[in-house]
Amino acid sequence: MSLSAYVPILALFALATAFTLFSVGISQIVGPKRYNRAKLEAYECGIEPSPEPVGGGRFPVKFYLTAMLFIIFDIEIIFLYPWAVTFADLGLFGFVEMLLFIGTVFIAYAYVWRRGGLDWD
């Protein structure tokens, strides 16, 4: 295999760089600059970033829980998509396998739901 197969990747990389530079640059030039307190704070999922509470303090883990649940479904999609594309080739075996996989994920989901992991307060 020659290296030319990597040219599209290089092109994509160049495009991505150009897009980043362009959008950051253009927002610097034309964007309005009206600051408020929340805007100036460092972004940290629901934690008061400063001043640091004594002894670490307590912080809500709700955001983490939501993020973790999101990851479960995110990963499910990663497997679902290629399966859907090759569905015809994989046939019944693939279908049952995927049902088992989704079933396992849903067992975890049912547990989270029943144990109050989805309640915000």
């Binding site: 020659s2 197969a5 040219v7 594309v85 080739d89 075996f93 067992i107 029943r114 144990r115």
Partner: protein
């Protein structure tokens, strides 16, 4: 240079789909345990709170029994095959170790399910609640988590997969499947919450670190062999014309991950803290079952994938074995806490197991497998005794508190004395027969390294006898302390676990030949 063409999805997907052949009967033990664990999660989600413990215990017990029967069935059929697209090897060692895991799992489950010793059981319901908070005081009064049962089953299914794994990728998945539940279980102790949380965090961080080593090593081995299957790595090492640098670096890093799990020096530092902080029933489970699983995996990696590199491996793993025996034995002498003492003893025992493994012979393999089974029973029984010696703060694990225990509870002290003698390797106990088997296998090779290892093994056994016998002397000959702990009346589960552990220790010591023969017949890996 040709112009590049972008493949259409149809071209990308023009793959030849070859479905793996799955031997469901051979995979049944793992499937049963995994299925039961999933069912257990649903039980915890939907069953009424007061009946959860009963349902979970019954479910786990039945699942483990069925898994054991499935293993026995496979063994009777005499299965020797690679299945699931050579991801799993169903051979003698797999079946022997899976059977051992199932039996030890049942015995450990009895300890995990015991609720007679403490109101609400030995676990709390939520591991992450900060110590000393209002929620922590509330959960101290409440019933403990029943999630421990599905977690134990998940861990056991991972362990069974681990000993059967025939490629590094499957092995890594199995490693995580059995490690993650263990990290969580460690944090659930009802008493001494802070130590328990500390244990879990240390175990998790160091375990993740070791896993990272394992997976990096796997990547390097893939770079060398172009495959992750053990047979493929073996062939690549045999035919290699290129530099073996990738092979040895990869092997070293994979070995770090595995040696961490078996607690070999210098990857042992987590062991005392985790064994001490974890709930004692979980410690028993880890000391017995994790050791079986991790050692099974290590044996397969060494014997199947790297047997051609044997001469290069021997000095390194041999040095690690010597260090493991020495450090485990010497530091055991200085311990003042019974759980930490057993942790260092477990480190030293990992060293003895490595002596058997490094024989690189059929005898070495069979003796190591016998050792794993024998040691598992003894160590579970020993931790079962520890759960019984209690005061107002839970288990009294400081050695000074055990002074004069023989006078107060002669039966329990007698049982513990027997187990300590077994650890020390006194004849008529399984400790003697198993040490005899591994040292005999190493001497049978008749080369320099195994002989050196046996010499260190015998010397450290003598050193180790001292801390064990000191506990015995303390229990029988010392005056009881001012406020001596009471020995709780064991519930039915703990009694059963103790009985099985002690009987197995005695039987494997007096009449070891059936199990030795079984291990001998099983001691052949397939590639």
């Amino acid at each position: 240079m040709n112009g590049f063409t972008i493949a259409t999805p149809a071209q990308v997907l023009a793959i030849d789909v070859r479905l793996p052949d799955l031997d469901y009967a051979a995979m049944a033990p793992m499937l049963v345990l995994f299925g039961a664990a999933c069912l257990g999660v649903l039980v915890d989600a939907f069953a009424p709170r007061q009946s959860r413990h009963t349902i979970q215990f019954a479910l786990s017990f039945i699942a483990l029994t069925v898994a054991l029967l499935a293993v026995i069935r496979e063994a009777r059929v005499g299965s020797r095959e690679l299945t699931a697209d050579v991801a799993l090897a169903i051979d003698g060692p797999t079946l022997f170790l899976q059977g051992t895991l199932a039996v030890l799992g049942i015995v450990a489950l009895l300890l995990v399910g015991e609720r007679a010793l403490e109101k609400g059981g030995p676990f709390v319901s939520q591991a992450a609640i900060p110590v000393g908070s209002e929620a922590d005081r509330r959960q101290a009064r409440e019933e403990g988590a029943t999630e421990v049962f599905p977690l134990t089953l998940f861990a056991l299914s991972g362990m069974m997969l681990f000993v059967a794994a025939n490629d590094l990728l499957t092995m890594f998945v199995a490693l995580e499947v059995f490690s993650l539940p263990l990290y969580l279980l460690c944090a659930l102790a009802r008493r001494r919450r802070l130590v328990s949380q500390e244990a879990a965090l240390k175990y998790f961080l160091l375990g993740a670190f070791a896993s990272a080593f394992f997976i990096f090593g796997m990547a390097l081995l893939y770079g060398f062999a172009g495959t992750v299957s053990f047979g493929g790595i073996h062939d690549a090492a045999l035919l290699a014309t290129t530099s073996p640098l990738l092979l040895f670096t990869g092997l070293a890093m994979v070995a770090v991950g595995l040696l961490f799990k078996i607690a070999a020096v210098p990857f042992h530092v987590w062991t005392p803290d985790v064994y001490q902080g974890a709930p004692t029933s979980v410690t028993a489970f880890m000391a017995a079952c994790t050791k079986v699983a991790a050692f099974g995996g290590l044996l397969r990696v060494l014997y199947v994938a790297f047997d051609r590199a044997r001469w290069d491996i021997e000095p390194v793993i041999g040095t690690i074995a010597i260090l493991t025996m020495l450090v485990g034995a010497i530091l055991a002498v200085t311990q003042t806490d019974i759980k930490r003492l057993l942790a260092y003893s477990s480190i030293a025992n990992a060293g003895y197991l490595l002596v058997g493994a490094l024989a690189f012979s059929k005898e070495g393999l069979s003796s190591a497998m016998f050792y794993l089974a024998a040691y598992g029973f003894t160590v579970i029984a020993a931790f079962a005794v520890i759960t019984l010696v209690r005061d107002d703060d839970g288990e009294a694990t400081h050695l000074s508190r055990w002074a004069g225990l023989g006078r107060e509870a002669p039966l329990v002290a007698g049982v513990f004395t027997f187990l300590m003698l077994a650890f020390a390797g006194i004849p008529l106990t399984s400790g003697f027969t198993s040490k005899f088997a591994v040292f005999g296998a190493a001497l049978g090779v008749g080369e320099a390294w195994p002989v050196a290892l046996v010499i260190v093994g015998v010397v450290t056994s003598m050193i180790l006898a001292f801390p064990y016998l000191r506990v015995v002397v303390m229990m029988w000959l010392s005056e009881p302390a001012e406020q001596s702990p009471t020995v709780a009346i064991p519930g039915a589960f703990t009694s059963a676990a103790l009985m099985v552990g002690v009987l197995a220790t005695l039987l494997l010591g007096v009449f070891p030949s059936p199990v030795l023969d079984l291990a001998d017949r099983a001691a052949e890996f397939i590639r």
